[in-house]
Amino acid sequence: MSETVTFKLNGKDVSVPKGWTVMKAAAKEGVEIPHFCYHEGLSIAGVCRFCMVKVEGRPKLEIACNLQATEGMVVSTTEDEVKEAHKWALEFHLINHPLDCPICDQAGECSLQDYYMSVGKYESEMTRPKVLKPKALDVGDQLVLDTERCILCSRCVRFEEEITKTDALGIFNRGDRATIGTYPDKRLEHNYQTNLVDICPVGAFTSKDFRFKQRVWFLKDKKAICPGCSTGCEVDVYGKPEDSHYYRIKPRHSEVNGHWMCDKGRYYYDHMNPVGRLRKAISGIEGSRKFVDTDEAIADLARKISNSSVSDMALLVSPQYTNEEYAALLEFFVTQMGVKNVYQWREPTESTEDFDGILYRGDHNANTAGLAAALKAVGLENNIENQFDDLAKSGAKLVVALAPELSSTYPSLKEQINKLEELPFVSMWTIDGKVFEYPGINHAIPMKGFAEKKGSFIGHSGVRKLEQPFPAGNEHARDLVETVEALTKVMAHL
């Protein structure tokens, strides 16, 4: 039985579990308390001294992040004394800040800027020369560090200590010479570097990948699930739909992934961008392959299917599609048409039991469990051993191959696809524009990316939902549900 305490926050009664800080309570109530160093996913530091609140009966202002709410406490965040304290806390943070906004990626999502607008808006009273520090340092494959912009909130140091336990960052020197950094020539090596960019309230840590690419106020973000492994972290995908262009992925807080995601998943926006994406369908049924509209390619395939016998047909399915897509696919091919030869497309070098202890798993597919369940539902076995070689030797005359969306998670992809050259007809449904280079692929239908779909995966810890799709990157892209629907319609008339 957990106790609750009730206290007054800006005149309103608030009840929270005993042990909650005023900061946490205020967040729950939607009351903004400005802060830099506090982060829900990290220990309390209490160094920025920004989150001051007034507690009745106490002579000094208190920091909300380290103040336990007690029964009957009366707290104010709006009194003049508090506002004055906020103003000066911000002033102290700004006196040595380089004000790089015109060239800083953080602009538009920078805590200093945001608080200046809400708490500041005044003339600076600092007229002395600023302390200069090293800028634009390469401290990791994903990171650029600007130690001058750093406000020494220590979030990154705590992250290294508490989350990755790698202790690669320290704050050196005393006083206003204090500087964030790594040990000289020792860069960050782990798979969680970009989280530092997320937690850095300013532009001290910036992402190499995102550097100078886009101003954040032009981006739209939509919820999605990272498709990179069976963990299925909740993420926000950022894009400019008017350009059909995606720019970055950031984690979204959830029970499954806390506040974090790994660096591998950060790149899973790029394959959905126009360059490298399959933008039209391919049909080689009349002889030489050419780019065609998807509807035409679907019609061609429907004719081919209706002229084939079911025993000559095979499906090759990657575990990177949604549950809804598998249901539609197997309903059409297995249940209605009677296809029995269904093979799983897996990476032969995978070790699915691997786990790095934080988030990243060795099963580099979003929906291994979903595919297994879908196969079982239509009475098929869930074989995953040697599937590719079995298919290559099977003598199948018409293969429909649902390619993995993320080619980078299948290092053996090229080798695998070349094995299919022996088979007379392969239709590959894929997002990857490289498909045109494979002579063994006769026919292709462009697929949507994960951020463009609605549906669900079954991840390691349960159902993971894709709920906010972007519009498809190009008019020809389809998901499996739409493709099967179109096939069904065409075949009904044949």
Partner: protein, 421 residues
């Protein structure tokens, strides 16, 4: 001097710091008496004595000891803060040289009372000579059976070790000291939790000043009333004052609290040399606001009087500013010091101490106009009460005091210099 010296009892004796001298002077009998007392009884006794921490904060010692959770099975630590880095202070250095065994005995009693079986004396690095004396004293105490396991058959265990600092004023702050002892930068820790519950390695820890420990054997042996024979109601006991400046006899003096400042300067120290006069007095270490000559006339050296006069007793470090001094330069030394020593954790202190140093140096360079004087006051004002530890306040108080008392003099200096901004 009409009062006895308690802490400096062995001062001037032959082999003043050896264990033999200490024993001959009644040493190591208080611990034997304490070992037969109930722990709670000792805490009550120390509370009744009214002993206040002698490091600078003046926190009641008995109360501090009472915060340690009794008998919870966790290892506990007792630490002697011999970091003594408040400029003007050199009394703990003197105790370490003259009567190191009294520190050890005070720690033995403290360790027994709070249930700590491990103790550290943390000295500042600059005390190279005195560290040698302390290590020798610890060795002697072990050899004589006053440190170690089951000391003199009492059942008390107390292991004592010495740890040296490496040049950082902030390690005089108790949680800064604990951080340093943990092998880290000497950065003070966020409170709560307080050290009595979570200190060294997140275990219950009590940190007391060297001089505070030295009062304990006397209190145990003679009781609270005898202790209160000297001093005032709110500031009982004797205190060591380090007094320096252009004096005939600067040094460390043990006097009852409530002693007249004027008497200390003129009689004990023999007044100022070479006909110099007092321009101002720093009564409690560099961070204490200045006392002006009129205040010096009537000031008594106790916590309440210093507070009433707008200053503080602090570490009892008295520095005499004579009339030939340039206050702008003294202010520069002060702001340079705090900017150098700020640990850098908290934004108001890190940036504020730098800003103050910058402003004062600007005045000296001639790049600041008279507005800088008010700016110094304003910046200092907003550094107070906003940080994890009191260094920010310690930096703010003297800055405000110089502006308040010598603002016009500083402005005249600026005018004379001519603003070359």
């Amino acid at each position: 001097m009409t009062h006895e010296k308690i802490i400096l009892a062995t001062e001037g004796k032959e082999n003043q710091r050896s264990i033999d001298t200490y024993l001959a002077n009644g040493g190591y009998t208080a611990i034997k008496k304490a070992a037969k007392m109930d722990r709670k009884a000792i805490i009550d006794l120390v509370k009744a004595s009214g002993l206040r921490g002698r490091g600078g904060a003046g926190f009641p010692t008995g109360l501090k000891w009472s915060f340690v959770p009794p008998d919870d099975g966790k290892p506990k630590y007792l630490i002697c803060n011999n970091d003594e880095s408040e400029p003007g202070t050199f009394k703990d250095r003197h105790i370490s040289s003259v009567n190191p065994h009294m520190i050890i005995e005070g720690m033995l009693i403290g360790g027994y009372t709070v249930g700590a079986e491990k103790g550290y004396i943390y000295s500042r690095w600059e005390f190279q000579l005195e560290i040698g004396y302390l290590e020798q004293a610890i060795k002697e105490a072990y050899e004589a059976g006053f440190l170690g396991q089951n000391i003199f058959g009492s059942g008390i265990n107390f292991e004592l070790d010495h740890y040296s600092g490496a040049g950082a004023y902030i390690c005089g702050e108790e949680t800064g000291l604990i951080s340093s002892l943990e092998g880290k930068k000497g950065q003070p820790k966020l409170k709560p939790p307080f050290p009595a519950l979570e200190g060294y390695l997140r275990r219950p820890t009590v940190v007391n000043n060297t001089e505070t420990f030295c009062n304990i054997p006397h209190i145990i042996t003679h009781g609270a009333e005898v202790f209160r024979r000297y001093g005032t109601e709110k500031s009982p006991g004797t205190k060591l004052f380090s007094i320096s400046g252009a004096l005939n006899r600067p040094g460390v003096y043990e006097v009852p609290l409530g002693y007249s400042l004027k008497k200390l300067i003129e009689e004990d120290c023999g007044g100022l040399k070479d006909g110099k006069k007092i321009k101002a007095v720093v009564p409690g270490g560099m961070s204490a606001p200045l006392l002006m000559p009129a205040q010096v006339e009537t000031a008594t050296l106790d916590y309440e009087c210093m507070q009433e006069m707008g200053s503080m007793l602090g570490s009892g470090a008295i520095m005499i500013i004579d009339d030939q001094q340039d206050v702008v330069d003294l202010l520069r030394i002060t702001t340079d010091f705090f900017a150098h020593e700020s640990c850098g954790q908290c934004t108001p202190c890190r940036e504020g101490t730098g800003w103050l140093k910058n402003l004062v140096n600007g005045i000296l360079e001639g790049t600041e106009g008279p507005a800088a004087v008010d700016r110094i006051y304003q910046v200092a004002d907003h550094m107070e009460g906003r940080t994890i530890c009191a260094l920010s306040d310690a930096a703010a108080w003297p800055a405000k005091s110089y502006v308040k008392n010598f603002g016009e003099e500083i402005k005249a200096y600026i005018e004379k210099k001519g603003n070359r901004a």
